[in-house]
Symmetry: C2
DNA sequence: GCGACAACGACAATGATTGTCAAAAACGCA
DNA sequence: TGCGTTTTTGACAATCATTGTCGTTGTCGC
């Protein structure tokens, strides 16, 4: 259905990608844009948004949408996984739960739902943020 | 800690609450506001928003935040549960997964996270929406 | 009934995200 | 290396759900 779209290498795309590569934890588009500016990289905010969207669509980065906040982006490891996030500092651990995956699919199937996907996020206070 | 806050009974609060009671599925604040107007109820949009927030904070209704859409509200059954939602028509089934709950808590504890909570949503296409 | 104070609501403000579109940059090819 | 085509960029405007404002109204304990 779609093939002809040629993705071009640009300075801006590389800059965003490189920044994400060395970044720990989740960051918003505005955050990343500010960091790029501090580094002297000249990248427009609109471009940052679009690049992040593209990377997310391509499955190269993960998106998290905290209640009442901006979208947060992070470069993650390959494959399907979920996140255990510290509410205070944002420290994130990737967690895998094969049992959960099969449970979700089974539950959906039992109710006749097809084309199933899911979202799962665990929030807590990490050791260093626990007083 | 907090007690002095007296909640008052108002026509508007009753109207919103009553509407939610007879409503199936999730609906946005703007939706509910429009329905109230059609019924002849005179309720301000701001009030609808704040009433829904109040009910959600009190745990009387559930909130869902679909990707790129408005917040959706629904009167749900008591107790902790999750939702299996049809992407096409919004038909929603409440599902309980005790195993998932304990798994989430255990994973968080293993990493030293405390004060743990989680979000879980399953999406799919319901039987009637499957061609 | 009174009065304190919560609740209301029309309206303005916010703020993240998206749309626009002319100008700049990539890239295939010569 | 130069050229034409096509994508990408980015400053700016627009969108739009949600929140803030603040004078008015309605509740409710007394
Ligand atoms: Zn922490
Ligand atoms: Zn999963
Ligand atoms: Zn359906
Ligand atoms: Zn749960």
């Amino acid at each position: 259905m779609s093939e002809g779209t040629a993705v071009r290498n640009t300075r801006q795309r590389s800059a965003v990608s490189a920044l994400l590569a060395e970044m720990e934890g989740f960051h918003s588009a505005q955050d990343l844009h500010a960091m790029l500016r501090e580094r002297g990289e000249r990248v427009g905010l609109t471009t940052v948004y679009r690049t992040l969207q593209g990377l997310a669509d391509a499955g190269e980065i993960d998106v998290m949408r905290p209640p009442g906040g901006e979208h947060l982006y992070r470069r993650c490891s390959e494959g399907h996984h979920h996140h255990l996030v510290c509410r205070a500092c944002g420290r994130t651990v990737e967690v895998a739960g094969p049992a959960v995956e099969t449970w979700a699919d089974r539950v959906a199937a039992q109710h006749g739902y097809t084309d199933v996907s899911h979202t799962l996020e665990i929030f807590g206070t990490c050791p260093t943020c626990t007083p």
